[in-house]
Each structure stands twice: as structure tokens, then as C-alpha cells.
Symmetry: C2
Subunit: 224 residues, 2 copies
């Protein structure tokens, strides 16, 4: 049985099915145990081969990790780009659709994005630095979106868009700590909740200029 040309080496290289199976298993393990806490033997066992065989598909453990982190971004970027809502829609709807897409990339396309989010900060710096530009590109997509919405006048005047984006990212990404795709809360409802909380907050009353200003708190009220 001769192996035919499966090697259409484009850039980036297409993943063979074998590589994909390895990445799937490795990502699952790394999500639970971290990168350093996951051994090549474990990865190999979970795909049903021996450790040495992994090196036929990847040059090193780090290469596996890098591929996982990259795919994690890829999933996010693709989800963002595939959002089926026109930019001419009302800003709330546009926003919610993108929140839904980001949450989808965390829960509906394998563990790649979740691994990216949870393990990026402890990754070896060589791995981390190689990924940074792609991360930045994804974050820029969000910045552009928020700026577009802001230019329409939908945000409070004093709203810092950079902080708003980072806080929203934190709210979305941290759902991996507690959201269960098979639980009673549907992911669409989760997206609604996160987007609504981002958009209008939790309070009953609308925004007021001094509602939360620090100066509004009388010193006398402080105890201790």
C-alpha cells in the first residue's frame, strides 16, 4: 500500500486526521491538567498509541501546544467572522450576536479556545510570543466592533472602550469555569445574560451621572 501525495503543504499546513486526533486528545488533557501537567505518554495513551509514535506527527511537545493555542484563536476568529448579523442592526443585537459567537467558540468547537484562554498565561514564553500577534488580531476585531458602536453614540460618554472590552472578555471567558453545555441554562440564554449585563448592567435604574461616582460616598458613612 503506497501512500499517495497527501502532502499539499500550504501555509499554514493542513492538519492530517492523525494530527487532529492527537490535538483533540491533548487539548482535552491540557484543559484539565495544564501543559506542564500533561505528559506525552498520557496524550499517546488517550489516542491509543505509544509515546514515541507521537513524534512522527509532531516534532515536540511544544509544537503540539502551539498548534492547540493557534487553533484556539482560529476558532474565535472564524466564529466572529461568521456572525450572521449585519452591522446595520441595532447595536444591542450586534453585540449580543458577537457575544454568542465568542461563547460558541469556547464551548461548541472543541476544547481549543478554552485551552487557549486558560493556559496562555503559563505557557513557555517562546510559545506565547509566537501567538501574540494572532491574539492581537482577534482583539482588534472586537475593538473595531466596539468603536463602530460607540461612533453611533450608543455608549455612555465616559465609557472607556478599552476597559469595557477587557471586562467583557473577562466575563465571557470566565464562563468556562462554571458553564455546562449540558446543564439547564442554554448557551443562547447565557449569551443573552452576558450581553444584557454588559449593555445595561444589573440595576433597575438607568445610568446617572453621579450614581457610582466615588465622591458621592459620604466620608461619615465609612465604618472602622
Amino acid at each position: 500500500m503506497t501512500t499517495h501525495v497527501e502532502a499539499r503543504q500550504s501555509v499554514p499546513a493542513l492538519e492530517s486526521v492523525a494530527r487532529s486526533r492527537i490535538l483533540d486528545s491533548a487539548a482535552e488533557l491540557i484543559l484539565d491538567q495544564g501543559f506542564a501537567g500533561t505528559s506525552m505518554r498520557e496524550v499517546a495513551a488517550s489516542v491509543g498509541i505509544k509515546a514515541g509514535s507521537l513524534y512522527h506527527h509532531f516534532a515536540s511537545k511544544e509544537e503540539i501546544f502551539s498548534a492547540i493555542l493557534e487553533r484556539g484563536i482560529e476558532v474565535m476568529v472564524d466564529s466572529f467572522a461568521a456572525v450572521p448579523v449585519a452591522v446595520t442592526e441595532p447595536p444591542e443585537a450586534l453585540l449580543r450576536a458577537h457575544v454568542r459567537a465568542h461563547l460558541g467558540s469556547l464551548f461548541e468547537f472543541g476544547p481549543y479556545t478554552a485551552v487557549h484562554v486558560t493556559t496562555f498565561r503559563s505557557a513557555p514564553s517562546s510559545v506565547r510570543e509566537a501567538i501574540v500577534p494572532r491574539r492581537d488580531a482577534y482583539e482588534a476585531m472586537w475593538s473595531t466592533l466596539l468603536h463602530r458602536i460607540a461612533s453611533g453614540g450608543a455608549f455612555r460618554d465616559d465609557q472607556d472602550l478599552g476597559i469595557a472590552r477587557l471586562v467583557l472578555f473577562g466575563a465571557m471567558n470566565s464562563t468556562i469555569e462554571w458553564f455546562d453545555l449540558d446543564g439547564s441554562l442554554a448557551i443562547d440564554d447565557l449569551a443573552d445574560a452576558v450581553a444584557t449585563q454588559f449593555w445595561q448592567g444589573v440595576s433597575r435604574e438607568g445610568p446617572s451621572k453621579e450614581g457610582l461616582s466615588r465622591e458621592g460616598l459620604s466620608r461619615e458613612a465609612a465604618i472602622q
Copy 2:
């Protein structure tokens, strides 16, 4: 030089200065590299001793890790309890004060809380399970706070408090990924930004019943 009774072993045991120095160094390393990615030799080197000497102070690597995670919760609980704002204050002020306290525990009392937040999910299950009750206790403090505010009628009627709390936690905890205590943004201003975003959202208009409801989006507007 005879060693006098420094061992008033209460429960929980008081940390000796030696133990504290080790925990400080270990927490810093673990924050960067993760638990599995940090070796006892590294920890020892960063406190200026040899690896074997660590075992005079701790029985195992896991014991060091457990102590760090526990102290991380301790810092949060203490900060929460020390919030200098009476519960009779307006809910926005009360909330902002607690957000400030939580952020303080992340940035102003060593790396312990940050380590807890970033590495809990990949910790060995034995370590994780021992900590869960204390985590729950801290989360209960927040639940109580939010319920108290809600019972005053300050939240929107449809607001799920559980989700609101989790989203707020995510927003606060994820600041470790980007906030710099020595940067241009002061931690007080960060707390204001996070609390305001939680309270009133980013939008200019106040909450409306259908502003973000999914049904509000016309099907015709969907593209692709």
C-alpha cells in the same frame, strides 16, 4: 543558640517567617509557570536555599501549593470582611467598595489570590477538593451581599443573581491578565470602572424591557 518555643501550634498553624518566605517565592513562580511547571529546585533557588532544605518546612510540593491556595482565599475573605462601608449605604457604593476590596486582594496582598484564581482549575484534585469548602464560603459572602441588595429592590426584576455574581467574578478576576498596579490606571479607578459597568452597563440609555430580547431581532436582518 537554643531555639525557643516558637511553636504555638494552633489550628490553623501560624506560618513561620521561613515558611512565609518560601510561600511568597513559590507563589510568584507558580503564577508565571503553573504548579506542574514549577520545580522545587526553582522554588529553593528563588529563596536562596537548596531543594532538600525545603522539606524541613513543608512535607511535599503539594503542601506548599495547598498553603498558597488557602492563603489566597484567606486574603479574599479578610478583604471582604474589612470593607469600610456600612451595609446601610446605597447599594452602588456598597457594591463598589466590595469590588475594590476583591481587586485589592488580587493585587495588593501578594500573589496568593492571583495564584488561586489562575491555577485552581488545573490543581491536582486532592488539592482542589480540600479547598472547595473555603471557596464556597467566600462565594456565599458575595451571594449574601447581592441578595441583600436585591431585596432592597435595586436590581432589575429579571436579573438572575447567580449569573450576575459569576459574571462579576469573571470580570474582576480576569483583570490579572491585563491590569498593572504600576500602570497609569489606578486600582481605585479600575474598581470604579468594573463596578459601574456591572451596575449600569455601558449603554447610554437605561434598561428597557425589550432592548436586548432575542425576539427583538428581525429574522430578515440576518445575513448569510
